[in-house]
Symmetry: C2
Subunit: 479 residues, 2 copies
């Protein structure tokens, strides 16, 4: 038992130190590793397999709404980055610059893309001529670089993986529609696949993307009560089109500027899965995103017939379409249980000589640790049911946690007190002025997460200045 | 008809100027576009969809042989790149250097990965301790950068997409086995999916990868008689392990160096598909890799019932598992035919009022232009058969072209004459000395493509120096 205990003991408990717990889980579940490249990470097989499932699910949903994949260069010449004023101001301070190619210095330095609006504009400028060429609904899967000072695996690193969609439309209405449509794709994906409930809303001008007219966001609440921006969708209007001269000839034979959008989701979502669902035994993966859904663990596997039966069970589960593995290593069953729990595999099947004799096996849920005895023949059907139940229970549990950590404040002092004492979202009214937003950030330590689509009138006046309120805002501390 | 003619006329013919024909196809089939980023390309939806299919097929084959995907940083600190002497000499002259991150100069400059051996070694050094940690059979899908002077879409560009597998093993035998296994995965993929026959063999020491003990390669012959290196697999022995100190404790409790391999395939294969199968009407995609396999083209679509029936046919084909589209745009049928041919879509289905009345449709093969009349009900079955036939006919045709353009030389003058007059592979014996290989390159203008696994004894002596021959070599001009 000494060994088994060690595996679990070596994780810091969530309550004690959430940040350390997070780091421990990432390491112990073998999701990432450190590298000699400062601020970057190695994504190991267990971590990358989660990303592959995220890609598969999102890409399918994208294609259903007419998105086509492309690939653009990873470099942006400095002059191109500078074409849109707000955009360059937002990104130039945090890019990596390439100054030499081969043995010679470059005539013009280039940055490694922090995001590709400027490249897509440069492309669309040449590719869009007539209304017949519109809309363009393109996306790319790639890595981007932002020169962050402090980094954490998945949540903030100098290089990360993402997808970035970039679209061009004939009209402002169509661009706005696409912006909202893609935000909803993200929100549905988070809730249906990652079991993470999100607040859909709009960013304040202070928090919007550099160069955007409007930024929409989905915000999730982590277990420690901090918010995580989980996906954003931007409407650029015709601002970039004017800076890059992207015009098309309309049906009426006049030249018009296109209207553009962009939207992205990143490997950060792996961090969200960890921080929403995990516990002191490690990772807890929602069944729909889990690379391995079932781990079959034989008991007394040296006894005749046990491994054989375990293999049979594994094959039957695989045939029924489940993602299943068999742990037939020489470790003790207890050690295997701890590993399966640390890695967040949704259910394990325990199968020993007595079970085999009885024609049954024990299914153990990772989320509740509930044990369910089922006949071996019924395992595929039973486990499929258990996984479905787990998926919806995990969403429900996350929603409950989010809701019980969402507070309403109608008075300034109350607002400060909640922000001080209760980690979570605070709903409060706001006048719409950046001065109040700045002051709240400085004096209360929370930022505006979003103005939710589902607005409520909690009071008539701004929580800060007392002038008439314009929006209800979700406030919170954020990653 | 004027418009239709224009589309086709604007392509240079293959016989006239193969290089220009290639560029025209890439552009007209909308595979890539130029960008402001010199030497890099935009891969457009039609091109990227081919790459997605290549990824899907290869990734599936990788996973069947135990490969796991990971992601490592895109940057390599200079000191890391320099650890293996041959490797740094091979790559340092052609990398892009990042010298500034954010607003500050870097303490140590980093290159954008041209390949990731050094990063994987740095990773394995920390991740491998015991024989129980071996083998590591990892792969990543990413982009790499090599600062080429002259570039061509897909064939040679400063940034390209690829996969790079990197493995670590306990023994030399296991590493060699894996090297050959992955070469065979590539070869089978090329022949079964891309319909491109390849020669499997080993590179000479002069042509091997920087830092490798042995490089294996598959070589394909393009329509113009030039060779294209299509995939390589390297055995590093313990060279990198010694440079990076990657050691493990074996069962006998002694420290040993691991043995490593790497292997890669790139977007260059899209160039190979174009140059092996294409013709003066454009691209010709093998059915198994074609993003769209069938284009339904209605004739007299304004007539009542035609578009409705065309839609029915499209849906029936889609339901049967074929990748199918319907071209219901306002262009003329002739224009649509030309577009479908230019884009290399394997078959089109022509469907007009007379066909509908007769309950039939006309299937037209892209490769032979053969027209097959089939009843509408039977279309899904019939087209599936036609596609299977096309797939094997295309491989057969490519093999025939390769074989009729493979020559044997046993005398020096004959060798020179063939190299001068007949584009293709030349099989000839070689003594194994680099002096002969260098002289052949300088004086005959061909390079050694590989020493094929299937050796033949064409003569006793080296084609160049007359000393005893050691290997039969495929020689040729290469991309």
């Amino acid at each position: 038992m000494a060994k088994e205990k060690k595996l679990v003991e070596s994780i810091t408990s969530m309550e004690e130190d959430f940040a350390q717990w997070y780091t421990d889980v990432v390491k112990k579940a073998e999701l990432t590793d450190y590298t000699s490249v400062k601020g970057c990470m190695v994504i190991k097989p267990a971590g990358y397999a989660i990303w592959e499932n995220i890609q598969k699910e999102l890409d399918r949903r994208f294609k259903e709404v007419g998105v086509e994949n492309v690939y653009l260069p990873m470099f942006i010449p400095e002059s191109l980055l500078q074409k849109e004023k707000d955009h360059v101001e937002g990104f130039a301070p945090e890019v990596a610059w390439v100054t030499q190619g081969g043995l010679e210095p470059l005539q013009e330095r280039m940055c490694v893309r922090p995001t590709s609006e400027t490249l897509f504009c440069d492309f669309y400028k040449n590719d869009v001529h007539s209304y017949r060429d519109l809309p363009k609904v393109y996306n790319q899967w790639c890595s981007v670089v932002r020169w962050e000072k402090t980094t954490r695996p998945f949540l903030r690193s100098r290089e990360f993986l993402w997808q970035e969609g970039h679209t061009a439309h004939a009209t402002a209405e169509e661009a706005e529609e696409r912006t909202i449509q893609m935000l909803n794709v993200y929100a549905d994906f988070c809730e249906e696949v990652l079991a993470i409930p999100v607040i859909r809303g709009r960013k304040t001008d202070k928090e919007k993307f550099a160069g955007a007219e409007a930024t929409y966001t989905i915000e999730a609440l982590m277990h420690d009560g901090k918010a995580l921006q989980s996906g954003t969708s931007h409407n650029f209007g015709d601002g970039f089109a004017k800076a890059f001269e992207i015009q098309y000839t309309d049906k009426d034979n006049t030249l018009k500027y296109v209207h553009q959008t962009s939207w992205g989701m990143t490997t950060r979502m792996i961090g969200a899965i960890i921080m929403v669902h995990g516990d002191d035994s490690g990772l807890k993966l929602p069944p729909r995103i889990a690379p391995t859904q079932v781990m079959v663990i034989p008991i007394r596997q040296q006894q005749e017939g046990v491994l054989e039966k375990a293999n049979e069970v594994k094959n039957a589960l695989a045939e029924s379409g489940l993602r299943v593995k068999l742990d037939d290593s020489e470790k003790s069953p207890g050690w295997k249980f701890s590993e399966q729990e640390m890695r967040g595999i949704p259910v394990r099947v325990e199968l020993g000589p007595k079970d085999i004799e009885a024609g049954t096996a024990v299914i153990v849920r990772r989320d509740t640790r509930e044990k369910i005895t089922a006949s071996i023949d019924e395992l595929p059907v039973k486990i499929a049911e258990v996984l479905e139940q787990m998926q919806s229970d995990m969403l429900e549990r996350a929603r409950e946690h989010r809701d019980t950590h969402t507070y309403v404040a109608t008075e300034k002092e109350e607002f400060k007190k909640i922000a001080d004492e209760k980690p979570g979202f605070i709903k409060a009214m706001w006048c719409g002025c950046q001065e109040c937003e700045d002051a709240i950030k400085d004096e209360v330590g929370v930022t505006s997460r979003c103005m939710p689509f589902a607005q409520e009138k909690l009071a008539d006046t701004c929580i800060w200045c007392g002038r008439p309120a314009k929006h209800m805002v979700y406030w919170g501390k954020a990653y």
